[in-house]
């Protein structure tokens, strides 16, 4: 995890204690055309392109209040600077949770997690960040505070700014408060680990899981040394982890059913239930954020296309490690080195093109060394209508003060 000081060209970090003060800070910055780098838990600070425009950091960590928690309505309203670990502590007291399994949960803030759209393996069974976010308050690049959605679970009044701000990487607004839809804690959780011999065999199992009534919460395809961590068998090339949550009887049935499906797929080894000490799951979650990778890339394909695409990755970097939320087609790659022929040839010209050819996308999430990262490699080209996004950006941040140069916009 990189520190703020080394990563961003900021002269000072302001830490407003409430949303109004934060709005005032942004209004001043707008007036002076000062660049603003929004900061949460700083666990994703090395995402994107190294920024060069001098400016100030604006931290949301002073906004960490619990606003309202009507547990029987299964919603919670919190300020954006609250840490994910703290939020889940509050929810666990009512036997509820927000199923976001994010790296550095003790540091990561709710606002940061929403801005980076990062919610981990259980997205398959529990939904994405956008599915849990029902209300939002934020401050745009003019210093104007605005709202979207509300505090009820169903609401179609006005444009859905909740969705728009998910994954907007702090380039449209600084989130100050959110209302989330939470879920009851499951009675039991269990993992199973399966070791397919090849990507073809893996795909056979993954497809079989899609065509069966079995309802896992997570289906993970892992490859490479950094993904197959203990107690997974490090000598295997691939592993599939399947997570079940629910009533005890449902989990037991699912494990038995999985055994049958794995048998049909002709896969020899299945650990079910796979004994997962808490620190394994913690390490598993930390995969994209653990230090030491030359590049961390994030991609998304139709799930059935993973098997065709991944050999291209290993062609570029045989030591690359993979963690794929295989049920959704989302994946993270930890590349072991900057490819010898350079990023523009190996990543942009080859792997991004291959991802597109497989109906998906691939972008560089973080590149600690900051080597040769371009707008093309961090947000790709040709995936989405840039003109339209630029037009939206202009409306929210007309002076381009929010995270300038780090992501999609210069």
């Amino acid at each position: 995890m990189a520190s703020t000081s080394g990563r961003l060209p900021i002269s000072a970090t302001l830490r407003p204690s409430d949303a109004r003060e934060l709005a005032g800070t942004l209004a001043d910055a707008y007036g002076n055309a000062t660049a603003v780098y929004p900061l949460g838990g700083e666990s994703s600070i090395d995402f994107g392109i190294p920024a060069t425009r001098p400016g100030v950091g604006v931290a949301t960590t002073g906004l960490d209040q619990l606003i309202d928690y009507p547990a029987r309505d299964m919603t919670i309203t919190v300020e954006s600077g609250i840490r994910i670990a703290h939020l889940n502590e509050v929810l666990r007291a009512e036997r509820q949770e927000i199923p976001w399994d994010v790296p550095a949960a003790g540091e990561a803030t709710v606002g940061g997690v929403i801005a980076t759209n990062f919610n981990g393996a259980r997205r398959y069974g529990c939904g994405a960040i956008r599915d849990h976010l029902i209300g939002i308050t934020a401050v745009d690049g003019r210093g104007v505070m605005f709202h979207g959605g509300g505090r009820v679970v169903k609401n179609v009044a006005g444009y859905d700014f909740c969705k728009l701000l998910c994954g907007s990487l702090g380039t449209l607004a600084v989130i100050t408060q959110v209302t989330l839809k939470v879920r009851p804690l499951p009675e039991r959780r269990a993992w199973a680990a399966v070791y397919p011999d090849s990507l073809q065999q893996a795909e056979e199992l993954l497809a079989a899981l899609e065509h069966d009534p079995i309802s896992p919460t997570a289906i993970e395809l892992l490859g490479g040394r950094e993904a197959l961590i203990a107690p997974l068998d490090p000598d295997r090339k691939l592993a599939i982890l399947v997570m079940f949550e629910g009533l005890d009887c449902e989990v037991n049935w699912s494990l038995g059913r999985l055994r049958e499906i794995v048998g049909h797929a002709g896969i020899g080894r299945l650990d079910a239930p796979f004994q997962t000490p808490d620190d394994f799951y913690q390490q598993f979650i930390e995969f994209p954020a653990r230090g030491g990778a030359a590049i961390v890339a994030r991609g998304c394909l139709p799930p059935g296309q993973l098997g065709g695409f991944l050999p291209k990755v290993w062609q570029v970097d045989p030591d690359c490690s993979l963690q794929a939320h295989a049920g959704n087609g989302l994946f993270m790659l930890r590349m072991s080195r900057i490819p010898g022929e350079g990023l523009s040839r190996s990543f942009v010209a080859f792997l991004q093109a291959e991802a597109r050819a497989h109906q998906g996308s691939l972008v560089i999430l973080s590149n600690p060394a900051g080597v040769e990262v371009t707008r093309q490699s961090t947000l790709g080209g040709g995936y989405a209508p840039y003109r339209l996004m630029e037009s939206v950006k202009r409306q929210f941040d007309p002076a381009n003060i929010l995270n300038p140069g780090r992501f999609m916009f210069p």
Binding site: P70, A71, R72, D73, M74, T75, N117, R130, F146, H147, G150, R151, V152, V153, K154, N155, V156, A157, G158, Y159, D160, F161, K163, L164, C166, G167, S168, L172, P184, H211, P213, S215, G246, L247, C249, E250, W253, L301, P302, P303, G304, N328, G329, L330, Q359, G360, S361, G380, Y383, A384, P385, Y386, L388, M389, S391, V392, R394, Q395, F396, M408
Partner: protein, 520 residues
């Protein structure tokens, strides 16, 4: 025949314009002659070149412009505001939509998309007239991918067609509005439709992966696709529920959902509305997330029983239709918990649907409840509001009190698990005083939803009906930013003007045409 086969997607034949020869491209003069001969009356409000251009784009079978034909399109399910479009076109491809849009833009006329016209908030009302683009002829299911669990459909595909097409695959399309036999998926995208099963499965936006759409400048763009996420802003998420004010959707990638292995469908019978609403809170509070949790009060039970003879207890104050689904092995335990929780809250009895046929009949009753209301009064107004689930007892008491005070009978059938109420106000539209009282009572109910921390619409949309409430729900800054956001797509506000945002001061358009009062 000029548009002789055009059919409003609500199933109403749009009627014939009159005999007309099929004309070759370029024969503009002859087309204009034909139009004159056919007595099309409103064209003086449009540039003279527009209709010939539209005829060239969509063909003579794809244009309606006679008064009698246009009447079908002067409103949707919200019939208190009416305004006729000047022309209706029926494109059959995205390219045709784009050409029509470019044409309208060049001519400086407003244009509005329409699906089946089942919107209950005036989402399809052609405010300011202009060209209505009806998408019901774009009705192909283009792809079904069971491996990656998505389908690609055109906007005119009727919601239930997709689930019917998926029979045997083990998959279904989860959003199931009560109008699913008529409403289109394009319209569902515009309003972010819900339905009874959204309690567990989410609303339309949770099931849309991508859209192809025509921007108001005529450019065709793709947002998202057959994948869970794409780099950049989530414009798909913002497009869903935008009520046709950002772009015209011409293709949709939807997520498909596995069919549950089993169901348990229950009918909880209660002697008081309070007991029923307390049972809802108890079930949710217990950590059970039912697939659906619907409430019907006595007024609606009586009408349903008269229509369907299901065997509903006519003396019950309220019934809850509760369904859990999922793995068979866990269902009996959940059912037992629910029965016990209902009994603890004073349920007189909890009946179980014995088989698939009985379950289907129960759901048929629920989804056709609005149809049964015809037995209760000549006209009715279905409201749509949301409160936090725990405020249901309060809002239902207030609804009764408001109805009594205004002398308006109100019955309730709604998505209780979501806190999404649908009070149905019964009246006779021939009595203007009653109409006024209904409007007043509706407003008071929605105000109360806001006072409870809720919303004035859970699934019907703002349309034109609830524009007045936007200032109550949002600040001036919120609305200004929404207008700015719209202008990123729709800078001239020529697409669907007068919708969703209170733009009276901004758009300069006024209603014209008959503006008749009718059933609300």
């Amino acid at each position: 025949m000029l548009a002789s086969e055009a059919r409003g997607a609500d199933g109403v034949a749009a009627g014939r314009l009159g005999p007309c020869r099929r004309l070759a491209n370029g024969m503009t003069f002859l087309i204009i002659e034909q139009i004159r001969n056919l007595g099309i009356f409103m064209l003086q409000s449009l540039p003279s070149t527009l209709v010939p251009e539209l005829l060239r784009i969509v063909g003579v079978d794809g244009v309606l412009a006679a008064r009698a034909d246009l009447m079908v399109y002067e409103c949707d399910g919200f019939v208190i505001e009416k305004n006729s479009p000047d022309v209706v076109v029926f494109p059959t491809s995205a390219e045709q939509v784009a050409q029509v849009v470019r044409c309208c833009r060049a001519a400086g006329v407003p244009f509005v998309p329409r699906g089946a016209g089942t919107s209950l908030a005036g989402g399809c009302l052609p405010v300011g007239g202009g060209v209505m683009i009806v998408l019901t002829r774009m009705k192909q299911i283009l792809e079904i991918n069971t491996r990656d669990r998505y389908a690609v459909v055109q906007p005119g595909v009727v919601n239930i067609w997709l689930t019917q097409a998926l029979r045997g695959t083990g998959l279904h399309y989860a959003p199931d509005p009560s109008s699913q036999g008529a409403c289109t998926i394009g319209g569902n995208v515009a309003t972010n439709s819900g339905g009874p099963h959204t309690l567990k499965y989410g609303v339309t936006v949770n099931h849309v992966l991508g859209v192809e759409c025509v921007l108001p400048d005529g450019e065709i763009v793709c947002l998202g696709g057959p994948v869970d996420e794409s780099p950049g802003f989530d414009l798909v998420g913002a497009m869903v529920g935008s009520e046709g004010t950002l772009a015209i959707v011409t293709k949709i990638w939807v997520r498909l959902t596995k069919n549950p292995q089993g169901y348990r469908t229950m009918l909880g019978v209660f002697d008081s509305v309070d007991d029923a609403t307390n049972a809802i809170s108890a079930i949710i509070g217990h950590g059970i997330v039912p697939a659906a949790l619907e409430m019907m009060d006595q007024g609606i039970i009586v009408a349903l029983e008269a229509a369907f003879q299901f065997g509903f207890p006519l003396d019950a104050s309220a019934v809850l239709l509760i369904e859990v689904d999922g793995l068979e092995v866990g269902l009996d335990a959940q059912q037992q918990d629910i029965v016990q929780l209902c009994q603890q809250q004073g349920a007189r009895e909890v009946r179980l649907a014995r088989d698939a046929a009985e379950r289907a009949k129960l759901w048929k009753c629920r989804k056709q409840a609005f149809g049964a209301i015809g037995r209760l009064s000549p006209s009715y107004c279905t409201q749509d509001g949301v409160v936090p689930r725990t405020r249901l007892p309060h809002i239902l008491r207030r609804i009764t009190e408001i109805g009594n005070r205004h002398g308006i009978r109100i019955v309730n059938v709604f998505h209780a698990g979501d806190g999404n109420i649908h009070p149905i106000l019964l009246f006779d539209e021939r009595d203007p005083a009653q109409v006024q009282r209904v409007l007043q009572a509706s407003n008071e109910i929605l105000e109360e939803c806001l006072a409870c921390g809720g919303s004035v619409t859970g699934e019907h949309g703002i349309g034109v009906e609830k524009i007045g409430f936007m200032r109550r729900m949002f600040t001036a800054d919120d609305l200004d930013l929404m207008a700015r956001f719209r202008s990123a797509f729709n800078p001239d506000n020529r697409l669907s003007p007068g919708k969703m945002l209170p733009t009276a001061a901004g758009c300069g358009l006024e209603m014209k045409g008959s503006h008749r009062k009718a059933a609300v």
